[in-house]
């Protein structure tokens, strides 16, 4: 069949198919009475993206009494189905752009690479969305504070109060008083100590490191995904050249899955990946430790036991129990010896 005609026909009937798919999933979304977005995009994936949250909520509402494993499997089934739609659309889109080159018998490899560059840019944006690796110090600091809301809230609240007080003073006398003496005397009540300040700065530095590591890691993953997709398109072109055909969308998915897993495995074995993964783990751990230090300084202030103190108590209990166990064993051996001696 002429692919161009196939493509045009596909777009024509896409609207009808989309309506049917939406109707099916829409009934699920109704379970949660979530707003369901029926957008008019010609791409089913965009339609599904816009409604993903509503459908997920619908699944959760419908499966409220279900076994948690079954509920999660239901959500994953839905997500997997949207992945198929997305994969098919993307393949057809790239194929469509390669079509003139293939028809002209020109070098499709070059054309494919061009297309893949576009895909790479898009993928990288998606993969690193929400990460903070650039910007002014102030922007990064704000993003960090937003990220740290839970563990740093008391500190942030007090810092805000102090800042507001300063601003409210306004006149020269108040400024002179506040800068030379006022802050010092308000420190103990506001809980804003130098220790916490230092801790937050160290946590911030660790957070910036982690963001960079996360970015680098996501770059590798997205590049690997693109390489896998490129390989997949190569495979499709080879199939076409040899006159072979995939029998169904599911066949196509299976082929994609095999190609992608293999590409990821090859990437996972490289030194670059191992290094990026290793750095990511290290920076996450370092950030976690810094977070904990700040948390523990707050805990100290409120006379609450810290994680470190509880761990230490656990360690002592553990050692004592081990000792008791050993003593019991020795006592049993001595008893057995004595009983043996008496008999």
């Amino acid at each position: 069949m002429d692919w161009q005609a196939q493509n045009t026909a596909l777009l024509k009937i896409w609207g009808e198919a989309q309506t049917q798919m939406l109707d099916a999933w829409g009934r699920i979304a109704q379970q949660a009475q979530s707003p369901f977005n029926r957008n008019n995009s010609p791409f089913a994936s965009a339609m599904l993206d816009a409604s993903t949250e509503a459908i997920r909520q619908g699944i959760r509402a419908m499966a409220f009494d279900a076994d948690p494993t079954a509920r999660e499997a239901a959500e994953k089934l839905f997500i997997s189905q949207t992945s198929v739609v997305r994969l098919l659309e993307m393949s057809l889109r790239i194929w469509g752009s390669l079509l003139p080159v293939l028809q002209a018998g020109s070098d499709w490899r070059y054309a494919l690479r061009e297309q893949m560059n576009w895909v790479k840019t898009q993928t990288l944006q998606a993969a690193t969305h929400g990460l903070h690796t650039s910007g002014t110090y102030q922007q990064l600091w704000s993003a960090f504070l937003e990220d740290s809301q839970t563990f740093g809230k008391p500190w942030l609240d007090d810092k805000d109060k102090t800042t507001q007080n300063g601003a409210a003073g306004g006149d020269m006398v108040w400024e002179a008083y506040q800068k030379t003496f006022g802050e010092l005397v308000t420190l103990p009540t506001s809980l804003w100590t130098r220790e916490i300040d230092d801790g937050m700065r160290l946590a911030f530095a660790a957070w910036v490191d982690m963001q960079q590591a996360l970015y680098d890691y996501n770059v590798i993953l997205s590049e690997t995904w693109c390489a896998a997709f490129e390989q997949f398109m190569f495979d499709l072109i080879r199939l076409m050249e040899s006159g072979e055909m995939l029998e169904s969308v599911r066949d196509m998915l299976n082929r994609w899955s095999a190609v992608a897993d293999n590409s990821f495995k090859q990437s996972f074995l490289t030194e670059g990946y191992i290094r990026a993964q290793s750095r990511l783990v290290q920076t996450v751990i370092a950030y976690r430790q810094r977070q904990r230090q700040v948390n523990e300084r707050f805990m100290h202030m409120f006379d609450l036991p810290t994680r470190t103190e509880i761990d230490e108590a656990h360690r002592r209990i553990y050692e004592l129990r081990k000792e008791v166990r050993e003593l019991k064993r020795e006592m049993a051996a001595i008893k057995a010896q004595l009983n043996g001696g008496q008999s």
């Binding site: 026909a9 599911r250 994609w256 290793s278």
Partner: protein
């Protein structure tokens, strides 16, 4: 010639397949939302707790013959994931298969470590809990030796234990046990830091920061080994079996097991990663448990080593390395053409594995009379 997209379907057929897939997926979601926990019960073979210590419970499965084989088989499973994988359901139960063939089967359940267990070491697990379970059996049954069957990480524990206490073990069976972690093609090994060069992770630092290692972290690593097969294809395969409720519940049991991952006691995990993976200490004879060196050459009892030919978690070469490391003159290796998980759940393996183990043991043990 006009190049065609290599999909042997018209545009209408493609759209129809997608619509049909959607319809099936919605049906699937509806069916899954009706599944209650009792529908996917696991661990069905009757058993009794015979010994308990801290988190650890020793179970005895009810024998099915009057005169089970002596000595009994003690199964030690990995700390990662739960041991009910070997007794998932009636037709996929290694335990049930062994009982049918006249074996007396005990199992150590390591439990779910809590935060206060972060200081537990491998010494506690091997010289403590495992040894206490063995001693309990020896004492209560008035026997001198048991048969030990170690699975995956539990296989490593059983090797260490057998090397440290050869007189207590009559026969040793290891299943998919990682012995040499520096063999090529082991992605998990590599991620665990077994690259032979600079380790890619610092297990002690991880434990310092996290306490116990969360089960979800471990699981994420396992799933990332085959992200598309395990994260996408697997769920779509449900569409093909929606009408087969037995198949769907099997799937969910497996799914439950996969995500039922206990946290790993911090100190023991760090030791395991450091000494067994990063340093490859078991095969090199450099492991020390509770101050005693684990010398695999002290394993002189008969050994049956079972491994999976397509194992992506424990490469076959990693398990096969055992042969050259021990002194036993009675060594048998058996493999099955499946992956790591297939060893427990493949219908074919479940037909062949229990008799393989039972026949091997029967050739080396004698039945006892319970009457």
């Amino acid at each position: 010639m006009i190049p065609e997209f290599p999909l042997a379907l018209s545009s209408e057929q493609i759209a129809n397949e997608l619509v049909e897939m959607s319809r099936r997926a919605v049906e699937g979601v509806r069916a899954l939302s009706q599944v209650r926990s009792e529908d996917i019960a696991y661990g069905i073979t009757p058993k009794t707790a015979v010994y308990h210590d801290d988190l650890v419970t020793l179970y005895r499965y009810t024998p099915r013959v009057v005169a089970p084989l002596e000595p009994p088989v003690l199964i030690t499973y990995a700390l990662v994931n739960r041991p009910y994988m070997i007794d998932l359901q009636e037709d996929r139960s290694l335990v049930s298969g062994l009982l049918d063939l006249g074996l007396d089967v005990y199992l150590i359940d390591w439990g779910y470590p809590q935060r206060n267990d972060r200081w537990l070491t491998l010494d506690d697990y091997i010289n403590g809990y495992l040894n206490d379970c063995v001693d309990h059996l020896l004492g209560s049954l008035k026997i001198e030796q048991i048969n030990l069957l170690g699975i995956c990480q539990g296989g490593v524990f059983s090797l260490c234990y057998a090397a440290l206490n050869p007189s207590k073990i009559a026969n040793l069976i290891t299943m998919v046990a990682p012995v040499d972690t520096h063999v090529p093609d082991g992605l998990l090994n590599l991620w665990m830091g077994a690259n032979g060069g600079k380790p890619s992770i610092d297990p002690e630092k991880m434990v310092e920061a996290l306490g116990n290692i969360p089960g979800d972290v471990m699981n994420f690593g396992f799933l990332m080994l085959k992200p598309f097969e395990l994260g996408l294809q697997k769920y779509l395969s449900l569409l093909d079996t929606l009408d087969d409720s037995a198949h769907s519940t099997n799937f969910l049991r497996m799914e439950k097991w996969i995500f039922d991952s206990p946290d790993q006691a911090g100190a023991a995990w760090a030791e395991f990663v450091r000494h067994f993976y990063i340093e490859n200490g078991l095969i090199r004879g450099e492991i020390e448990i509770g101050g005693q060196r684990v010398d695999l050459k002290k394993i002189i009892m008969p050994v049956l080593n079972v491994y999976a030919e397509k194992d992506h978690l424990v490469p076959p070469a990693s398990s096969k390395a055992l042969e050259g490391a021990i002194s036993s003159s009675d060594y048998t290796a058996v493999s099955f053409p499946v992956g790591h998980i297939g060893m427990y759940v493949s219908a074919r393996v479940q037909k062949q594995l229990p008799p393989t183990i039972a026949d091997w043991l029967k050739a080396r043990c004698s039945p006892i009379n319970l009457g």
